[in-house]
């Protein structure tokens, strides 16, 4: 691709300092994501996938290296709120605001951050709720929604900011099996529309159907990457093989 990468990660290191010692969470991670790409990150738990994702919108800080998102370097001088408004994030636990209805969840940041009028924000919210397939749930509180519906509201909430990049941090792992599909369908639609997406997920089906690239991380490093078909059928490294065999066993 001749285009400039929209996310550029260069030799990023990250340490977690705990009372028991120091954990090297990211080791010299370098990664470039181009506009329109759908990148799926897989790997065993504790491999640093979520940490990497959270570094991209500075929910975590990193110790060395450089991350440039949409032309803005994430250092102390960066206006991080501006970067975050361009980078949508979907969490494993949905993190919907429980004191707001689905509609208010989607409208709040539009009004506070994007300074849209109440009417304009509500219009966008209704469109997005229709897009994720739950237009009738606008006035429901998160506690009145199923897990799948909550996650779809969370996706709509992130999309309402009209981000250039969407980050998904294990969006389906807190869901009951029968709800996973409704969330993945929304994500597939999004991928088809050309959204740049970084997805931490173990949904092989989604990776096969939508991912332009799959990245395998282990112990804080990027071990292997490539297109999903070759990576899943013909892994080159032992670590990837071991990981795949564990997943496929059950």
């Amino acid at each position: 691709m001749a285009e400039r990468p929209i996310i550029s990660i260069q030799k990023v290191n990250k340490y977690f300092r705990t009372s028991r010692g120091v954990v090297h969470a990211l080791r010299d991670v370098s990664l470039e994501v181009y506009p329109g790409e759908v990148v799926t990150i897989i790997g065993p738990s504790g491999s640093g996938k979520s940490t990497l994702l959270r570094c991209i919108n500075r929910l975590e800080t990193f110790d060395s290296g450089q991350i440039v998102v949409d032309g803005i370097a994430l250092d102390s001088a960066a206006n991080i709120n501006k970067v975050r408004a361009e980078v949508g994030m979907v969490f494993q636990n949905f993190n919907l605001f429980p004191h707001c209805t689905a509609l208010e969840n989607i409208c709040l940041a539009q009004r506070v951050v994007r300074r849209r009028s109440r009417k304009e924000a509500a219009e966008i919210a209704h469109q997005l709720l229709a897009k994720v397939g739950i237009p009738e749930k606008a006035d429901a509180y998160p506690s009145q929604l199923s897990g799948g519906q909550q996650q779809r509201v969370a996706i709509a909430r992130a999309l309402a900011m009209q981000p250039k990049i969407m980050l998904f941090d294990e969006p389906t792992s807190a869901l009951d099996p029968e709800m996973i599909k409704e969330v993945l369908d929304v994500m597939l639609d999004l991928a088809r529309e050309g959204m740049t997406m970084l997805v931490v997920s173990h949904e092989m089906g989604f990776a096969r159907a939508a991912a332009s690239r799959v990245i395998f991380m282990d112990q804080g490093e990027i071990v292997e990457q490539g297109d999903p078909e070759t990576l899943f059928t013909a892994p080159r490294t032992e670590r990837m093989k071991a990981f795949l065999s564990k997943i496929i066993k059950h």
């Binding site: 929910l59 709120n81 980078v87 940041a109 506070v112 951050v113």
Partner: protein, 521 residues
């Protein structure tokens, strides 16, 4: 159709039976409380003593306007001469008025200060022997000025006596200060000479000479006595000053149940502000903010409320009055400097943003300027009004104590909201303060509302402690009533019932608000 039938059926039950059904559903403790309150309230209607206690405690405004006013009357005596009576109005029954005259046992007057002097029996020359009765007009008074406000000077004379001089009795335009224009100073570095107005009755001193020597006289003024005068004998009212709120003049304050509620509401509002700020500081990652808040919370929680109240009312109050006004300019300068440093540091950190995003560059600087100005104004306000009245001292004491309790409450409430909420809000591009304002605090408020209501109820009850600083709230009024009448049951049962009514009403109110704010489950 069926609904209306249903309603008609319920309406058909006799009213009394409905009430009986409701009562039967109440828990037994509620019945005991309601029955107890009913007995007390019945007593208010039937027993005159209970009714008097209720009126006295909840405050009869008539008590505050006539009693304890400072008055000066010109009164016609039996022989037709007119004499001046000055004192405190302490009672009135029909035409008869009781006035307690000023009580000052001895006063030392230097000869240099005396304008005219006369004694009985008349003495040779212009000297008055020990034991004679003297009337003198004082021309001036001098000494070290230690305090001054709009109405009075307080000074220490060369004989070491503290004297208070009201400004209206002084020829204020002829006051001499050495050094020139000096301010009151507890160390005695500001000397003043106050020329007194000869026509002012306060400057005529009469009494018995106890000592007389070359330098001056020690005079025993007539000790305070209660004069009974007839209203019809009053020729003119020279001065009638309704009682002012002061420690030695309690009835001047609005008192009773209103004072209790007023103090509780104002102190709690202040405590919520203090608690919120301190609570946010307690979760701050800035070590200075965190440690400052922790010291405040731990100290105030570890010291009994009563001790804090006494400290604020006596120690802190005296310091604020005597020392703080001198320190204030330095403090203001310090705050201004600090705000400037913060603004400059912020500007340096964000200098890159100046061209791309001027708003992000200016916002922290404007915030620092506003905060600095506000703090300087608060210090100035405190310095200008450093002689706090008792009610302010009470409110301040309660507020800083409960601020510490509420800080922990708010901290726990905010921390009970999962980290994910803050992350979700920040990931949408909200700033920390926006996330707090729109996401965290609305949720934390629902969590802390029930304990917050409990704290308010606790504070309402703790206003009773203000009786130790002689604030005439309900408890103090009850104690005064008990002392006046030698009745102890009536006043204390009355305030008990009143406190109970207020707290029960409040807990019902808190529960109602809680239900309204509850989210669907």
């Amino acid at each position: 159709m069926s609904a209306s039938f249903h309603q008609r059926e319920i309406a058909a039950i006799p009213v009394l039976e409905q009430i009986a059904l409701r009562v039967a559903r109440l828990p037994w403790w509620a019945i005991v409380i309601v029955a107890g309150l009913a007995v007390v309230f019945y007593s208010f209607f039937t027993s005159p003593l209970y009714r008097r206690a209720l009126i006295f405690i909840t405050d009869d405004p008539r008590l505050t306007t006539t009693r304890f006013a400072n008055v000066t009357y010109d009164v016609r005596a039996a022989d037709g001469s007119i004499r001046r009576v000055e004192g405190v109005l302490i009672g009135q029954a029909g035409d008869l008025i009781n006035i307690e005259t000023k009580r000052q046992v001895t006063i030392r007057v230097p000869r240099a200060d005396i304008a005219t002097l006369s004694c009985t029996p008349p003495a040779e020359g212009d000297d008055c022997p020990v034991g004679s009765t003297v009337t003198l007009l004082r021309a001036q008074i001098s000494g070290a000025l230690i305090f001054e406000d709009l109405g009075r000077f307080r000074l220490v004379t060369d004989d070491g006596e503290r004297q208070e001089v009201l400004k209206f009795s002084v020829q204020i335009e002829n006051v001499v200060r050495t050094p020139e224009n000096c301010r009151p100073d507890p160390e005695g570095r500001c000397r003043v000479l106050l020329p007194l107005k000869p026509e002012e009755a306060a400057n005529t001193i009469s009494g018995t000479v106890l000592e007389a020597d070359g330098t001056g006289f020690l005079i025993e003024r007539s000790p305070g006595e209660i004069l009974q005068i007839r209203q019809s004998d009053i020729v003119s009212v020279v001065r009638y000053a309704p009682a002012e709120c002061a420690l030695n003049n309690l009835a001047g304050c609005d008192s009773g149940i209103f004072l209790t509620l007023f103090v509780a509401i104002i102190a709690f509002a202040l405590a919520v502000v203090i608690g919120l700020v301190a609570g946010l500081m307690r979760i701050s990652e800035n070590p200075i903010l965190f440690n400052a808040a922790t010291v405040y919370v731990e100290v105030l929680r570890g010291v009994p409320l009563l001790v804090t109240l006494l400290f604020v009312n006596f120690a802190l109050y005296t310091w604020l009055r005597d020392e703080f006004p001198r320190l204030a300019p330095t403090l203001q300068l310090l705050i201004g400097g600090l705000a400037a440093i913060v603004a400059i540091m912020q500007a340096w950190n964000r200098r890159a943003a100046l061209r791309t995003e001027p708003a992000a560059f200016w916002q922290p600087i404007i915030t620092a300027a506003i905060m600095g100005t506000a703090l300087i104004a608060v210090v100035g306000l405190f310095a200008a009004n450093s002689d706090l009245p008792p009610i302010s001292r009470g409110i301040l004491g309660l507020a800083i104590c409960y601020g510490a309790y509420l800080a922990e409450l708010f901290r726990a409430g905010i921390q009970s909201i999962g980290r994910g909420q803050m992350e979700a809000a920040r990931s949408l591009g909200m700033s920390y303060l926006q996330a707090m304002r729109y996401i965290i605090l609305p949720q934390a408020f629902r969590v802390v509302l029930p304990p917050l209501g409990n704290e308010f109820i606790a504070m309402l009850k703790d206003t009773a402690l203000l009786t130790v600083i002689a604030l005439p709230e309900m408890t103090q009024r009850a104690r005064i009533f008990a002392a006046d009448t030698f009745r102890v049951f009536e006043p204390y049962i009355t305030i008990g019932a009143l406190y109970l009514c207020m707290t029960l009403l409040l807990s019902v109110l808190v529960r109602a608000v809680e239900r309204r704010l509850a989210l669907p489950r």
